[in-house]
């Protein structure tokens, strides 16, 4: 769950991690980073290495080929950090949710990493859309930082 007040609230440094997506989400991320949207006013800065990152922008359904690289990247990020799963593929696999070539989204990766690497999943914001608008990405980032409140909360369906 998103932390209300992470230490990087005022200066989130973001790292862009494509896990085998089709590039549409990546183009929207680059759009969100342009002077038109000006995310630097929140202190955001694009960094080139996971060691400097506070927020990971993860796109793509996590293909089998890229899985081990994604795991090593997530393990290289110093805590505390947050993850934004951007696009339908990262949220739940998209149209590749049951393909043999992908593992079908970030929740499945978390499940695997929790068992194999003893990895506690960081606060994660899911931003659906194919691709999501840059405004949606910035909105999600603001939620992850605790600048804005979440509009939906978790509900579990129980059968009587």
């Amino acid at each position: 769950m998103a932390r209300i007040n992470p230490p990087f609230k005022k200066s989130p440094w973001i790292f862009h991690l494509n896990t085998g997506g089709c590039n549409a989400c990546d183009i929207e991320i680059l759009d969100a980073l342009t002077p038109y949207h000006d995310v630097e006013r929140f202190g955001m800065k694009l960094v080139g290495t996971p060691r400097h990152a506070d927020v990971i922008l993860l796109t793509g359904p996590i293909t089998r080929e890229s899985k081990i690289k994604v795991i090593r990247t997530l393990l290289a990020v110093p805590r505390p950090f947050a993850v934004l799963a951007i696009g339908s593929c990262a949220v739940g696999g998209g149209i590749w949710f049951d393909s043999y070539a992908t593992i079908g989204g970030l929740p499945n990766l978390y499940e695997e990493m929790r068992h194999k690497y003893n990895f506690e999943p960081p606060p994660t914001i899911y931003i659906p859309g194919c691709p999501p608008r840059p405004e949606a990405i910035i909105f999600g980032a603001a939620q992850a930082l605790g600048i804005l409140k979440k509009k939906v909360k978790r509900e579990v369906y129980k059968e009587d």
Binding site: D38, E40, R41, F42, G43, G48, T49, R51, P78
Partner: protein, 308 residues
Amino acid sequence: MLSILYVILTILGSIIGFTVAPLVDGIERKIRAKIQNRIGPPLIQTWLDIAKLLRKESLIPRTAKALFIIAPAIALAMNIAALPLLYYGAPNVLGFYGDIILILYLVVGSSLILSLGAAASGNPYATIGFSRKISLLIACELVVALSIATAILKTGSLSLTEVILRTGIAPSMIIAGIALLIVTYIESLRLPFELTEAKPEIMGGIFVEYSGRLLAFAELSHILHRFVMTLLSLDILIAPLLKLVFGVSIMGVLMSFIILMLISILVLIVYGAIESLCGRTRIDRALIFTARLMILPIISLILASIGV
């Protein structure tokens, strides 16, 4: 009485330098934002970044040597140690005979130890950044050393305060100061010469493996190094003139203190504005540019040796 004022001004100047150098970085980022027609980060953004990094975990890669861990702290300590040795408009009572050599050592040593620490991380990107930094450092520090040698030759003193008090207006010192000012721009790794970091190219270069507290120390020492170098070149270029105009009375010392601080902040802001208009160059071109710059301190050295 007057000597107490001198000590107070030196300590005050060091503290202002320490706190203002990251703020000036914030002003530079604001100017860059204004040039690109956007709002930009708040002025204290660099302090916020450092505060955040101090609260994060510091990961140490398996391939790293011990130097990787201690290098940022040593570099920061060297830059902080250089601050009270500089000239802040008042004769520096904390200075001593030979302090100009010590300043040279601290300035060179801090960049050197930072890049050595990066090389000890075992990351190939850091190694590329290290090799670039060392080639740039050799070219730059030769200019710095020759310029300071000019000042020593001109006045025959190894103390920075005495150099400034004895000089007056001398063409050799002015040329040496200009060379120092230009080499400060190159050495502080601003954009055409930002070869050792080069975020899109070598992923942060020498800083690539640093995280958390270690990165905060490295960033802070990098920013302080910019301030120290700028103030050192202004000490050679403008401080003799200020001393000639205002003298060393109480009011004169205060005036030259304020003017020197304002000019050094202004120079840093102008550097930031120039940086926002440039793209990155190649390492060989940067080296050729720096080698051509060598002509300035050589001229000033010749002028100083004939006593001009």
